[in-house]
């Protein structure tokens, strides 16, 4: 086994054993999609709320895995000096990051399969879906949220990072255009929300899957900026121990 596959296996073991991470990455997105599709209480402007919800919940899944799960696990790895110990092996930073990236990609693939399957079961009917564009959005979203998660993980103590990441997750869930349309938010809050990566990712996913990706230039720009700036900030400020 190579150093990369060895480390990937170790990363997957951590994901598998941390039940609370699986709850955030799989349980909550599936629950929200199922509940709000069945109970029509959201002001989604859609005849069938599942058409609004699926792209937003896919964005939530990306945030759950690449920001919350990765950020919290990495924060505790710093706290427990796991990263410090690994730094004294021949693994190297590149292969460590590659292993973490592959583990995120594996979890996201499972998330997408389960959420899209549930969406179809609940009656989701994508219109002129551009799946390649949606995949690009997921990749950019992953970079953006991983950058935010690693920025927090690399600068805060384990427990503080846990609270901050979960708090941010809740805020972005509420004002990020995932379950509530941005135009239903108060004016100033709506304007701020449009600059957030969650809203940008929800918007481009919604347009890619429901209307062939039209009219989303500003959201693509916002997402691209976050995808570049957040990892750079994380790399510049990350403290290994």
């Amino acid at each position: 086994m190579t150093a990369l596959t060895t480390q990937l296996q170790a990363e997957m073991n951590v994901v598998r054993r941390n039940g609370e991470q699986l709850l955030v990455t799989l349980g909550i997105p599936l629950l929200l999609l199922g509940f709000f599709s069945a109970v029509d209480v959201l002001p989604t402007n859609e005849k069938d709320p599942v058409n609004f919800l699926v792209p937003g919940i896919l964005a939530l899944a990306v945030m759950s895995t690449s920001m919350v799960s990765l950020g919290i696990a990495t924060g505790f790895e710093r706290n427990y000096l796991v990263l410090k110990r690994l730094a004294a092996t021949p693994l190297g930073t590149t292969r460590l990051i590659a292993a973490k990236t592959l583990s995120i990609a594996a979890v996201e693939a499972v998330q997408m399969i389960l959420l899209i399957s549930l969406g179809f079961l609940l009656g989701w009917s994508p219109q002129q879906a551009n799946w390649l564009l949606a995949l690009c959005a997921v990749v950019l979203g992953t970079f953006a949220f991983a950058g935010i998660g690693l920025f927090l993980a690399g600068n805060l103590r384990g427990e503080v990072n846990l609270a901050a990441t979960n708090g941010l997750y809740l805020v972005l869930l509420l004002i990020g255009g995932i379950v509530f349309p941005l135009d239903k938010l108060p004016g100033a809050l709506s304007a701020i929300s449009r600059c957030l990566p969650t809203a940008a990712l929800s918007d481009v996913l919604r347009n890619s899957l429901m209307s062939a990706g039209e009219h989303t230039t500003s959201s693509w720009i916002v997402l691209l900026v976050w995808a570049i700036a957040a990892p750079l900030l994380a790399a510049k400020t990350f403290k290994w121990n």
Partner: protein, 303 residues
């Protein structure tokens, strides 16, 4: 070639000088103890040797490489044991040892390593469920997974019970016997005395002694005994012609003459004086000075 060469190493944290122009070497097949109280600069020095930080001034070479700039290539031959932690709490013992054997890829069989550190019965236990001694043995196993030519071990017996200490000492001795240069940081003088061939004594960021343990200990001998607390130290000193000091409950006479006839004569003079004064003589010992006392002498009594 020396395994580790540290020359004029200085490490600063802001205005604070943690390590001040220290130089020493560690050789293959020897245990070199970096010894000193907490805060003396041991861990800063070890971590610079491990490549975690760059020296502020001076140089460090491990296996003739710069550990900070050539860390990836160096780390395949260097074993590291951190002072604490380094393993995820939910990680299992054998799984983690297997992971490190694969990362180092030096042909070490994880099962053999598990047996070597006596953790077979804990193979499926999680890190969080291990005792202090078991955790230290597992950290040692992760260092051994490198089949190291140089091993940096930071406080390897800290918090370990007597049986656990014996097991760890045995592994460290075997490591050195097989040619590895073992650099051991510890604040426990007794541990260094049992394991090390060479001792580097740190005090307030500086080296106050650097010599083979045998040389350091043979430089001074001492006679040690106990009696009544009211013993007149000045009178006894005058009688034997050497200074008698009181250390805890013992009376101690230090001398540089290692000739056995001199030692016998000294014992004779002390016992005669005590007998003449109707004072008891208990717990008499004579021989090389203990490392603890050497350290006290060199640092003015602080540890």
């Amino acid at each position: 070639m020396s395994a580790v060469v540290v020359e004029n190493l200085t490490i600063r944290y802001g205005d604070f000088v943690a390590v001040d122009r220290v130089s020493f070497r560690a050789e293959f097949g020897e245990v070199t103890a970096i010894l000193g109280p907490n805060g003396a600069g041991k861990t800063s020095t070890i971590e610079t040797c491990e490549g975690y930080r760059a020296p502020t001034n001076g140089s460090v070479h491990v296996l003739e490489k710069n550990p900070f700039t050539q860390r990836t290539s160096l780390h395949s031959e260097v074993g590291v044991m951190l002072q604490e932690g380094g393993v995820y709490p939910s990680a299992r013992v054998f799984e983690t040892i297997t992971q490190y054997c694969a990362l180092y890829n030096r042909g070490i069989d994880p099962t053999t390593l598990l047996v070597a550190v006596d953790l077979e019965s804990k193979a499926t236990s999680t890190w969080r469920s291990l005792s202090g001694g078991e955790k230290q043995r597992m950290l040692l196993a992760l260092a051994l997974a490198a089949r190291p030519r140089v091993a940096f071990l930071d406080e390897p017996t800290s918090g370990v019970d007597i049986n656990g200490r014996d097991a760890i000492r045995h592994i460290i001795n075997d490591l050195a016997a097989n040619g590895t240069a073992v650099v051991l940081a510890t604040h426990e003088l007794d541990e260094a005395e049992r394991l090390a061939q060479r001792v580097v004594l740190f005090h307030q960021g500086k080296i106050v002694a650097n010599a083979p343990l045998a040389t350091m200990r043979s430089a001074q001998h001492e006679l040690r005994f106990s009696s009544v607390p009211t013993l007149n130290v000045q009178e006894l000193s005058a009688h034997i012609g050497l200074e008698v000091t009181v250390i805890q409950d013992h009376f101690v006479v230090r001398f540089e003459n290692t000739d056995s006839a001199f030692s016998s004569e000294l014992v004779q003079r002390v016992s005669t004086w005590l007998n003449n004064n109707n004072l008891p003589l208990n717990n008499l010992s004579i021989g090389a000075q203990r490392l603890e006392d050497i350290f006290r002498n060199l640092t003015g009594g602080t540890q």
